[in-house]
Symmetry: C2
Subunit: 237 residues, 2 copies
């Protein structure tokens, strides 16, 4: 079974939802047969690379909250994260473009390091003091910590076209699948789970998707030209 | 869309079928949205690593063919391969265990080099004089040519447990999906195509799987706790 997870590094519910999904997966009896793929989704796709501001400022400016409301929201998100054993700095975090991080995550996917890099990016953004925005060398450090080559990561960051199509393709696909927000979980392209649901919902979704996998529909064309336990069918043989 | 292809390096129809599928994919309008994953299948899973014999000998011994029949079969397979522009040595090839090659292909998958290594293994087995069986250094050379690290490839070959579970899991999955031989193509876990079908059958299968992708079934649990274009839903907010 394959689970695809659309998420954004700047999305607190993605950070929390990933931990909840992983708890469900840990107890899923067929966990060894589950492959997880992370896909790109930007909450703020129009934001320029250099446009960085404090999260609290962004919340008041973009959503018309008072500073008090914004801080209270961060406090509640911090409590939800803490309940999952995750660190969350409720004050002093920045907001900015995550496009470059998604491009790096596609490089990491090709190198088998996607999961490691995503975890490090989340941790850096939500738990560590140094900002992940507007600081390419910070991203290179995280890429190296995830097992990527520093020069390769730097080359991707220096070329805005590198893996840009892959990020956009993930985002178009999310829209096509009906995702209105993230995190968005898709199990075997058959079941969708929206949001940082409770662990039990993920557990049910895994069990259901596993149990209800439908048999393949054979495409007409017959069984000709296969090799099997009885050898290879050869025409005119 | 994701296409999974179960195949074996020792399977002539897999070699031919891959070329036919790729011709169909090249003309498929949504080819940029198609991800291809190669999965392991051994035609001869019980064969020991050191047990190598000429293909013609294996065919006569295992399937009771006369040498003449075996050679005629190889000639016909060679003609089918040639029709796809593939080189195929109809005489002098060896048969042996492909387990180590599948283990290397799983390493290559993790490093984003699976396709490159599979093509090189096919070419080495079907078109080149030097045997790919019973010669670890030959496999290391091919792994390096595919972009893998020589020491990493050597370490995998030296440890029979490395990626063994991944090979076995692929094979169990093939059985679960109803594959009786290879190549076996699975499109989005919804459609199955068995054998080295004509290009047109692959084209139809791609079009059909693309067009008939069913909408996701939402798993109950509501839409709570998502971040979207209107910000992040925060409980009690």
């Amino acid at each position: 079974m394959r689970v695809e997870i659309w998420s954004d590094i700047a999305c607190p519910w993605c950070y929390v939802g990933k931990a909840r999904f992983e708890r469900a997966l840990r107890d899923f009896p067929h966990r060894d047969r589950v492959e997880v793929v992370h896909r790109s989704f930007e909450l703020d796709p129009g934001r320029a690379k250099g446009d960085v501001e404090p999260v609290i400022t962004m919340l008041t400016r973009k959503y018309g909250m008072s500073e008090e409301q914004a801080r209270a929201g961060e406090d509640r998100l911090g409590a939800q994260a803490a309940a999952e054993g995750l660190e969350y700095r409720t004050r002093g975090r920045d907001h900015g473009s995550t496009f470059d991080m998604h491009r790096l995550l596609h490089l990491a996917k090709e190198r088998g390091r996607q999961e490691a890099l995503l975890d490090l990016l989340y941790r850096a953004n939500f738990a560590e003091e140094r900002s992940v925005f507007g600081d390419d060398e910070r991203l290179v450090e995280l890429a190296v910590a995830a097992g990527l080559d520093a020069d390769e990561a730097r080359a991707v960051l220096a070329d805005p076209a590198a893996y840009a199509d892959e990020v956009r393709a993930d985002e178009r696909e999310a829209a096509g699948l009906g995702a209105r927000g993230v995190p968005f979980f898709v199990l075997d392209r058959a079941y969708g789970v929206s949001g940082a649901q409770p662990v039990e919902v993920f557990a049910q979704a895994l069990a259901r998707a596993w149990g209800e996998r439908s048999p393949l529909e054979p495409v007409p064309g017959g069984d000709a030209d296969v090799c099997g336990p009885d050898g290879c069918a050869v025409p005119g043989h």
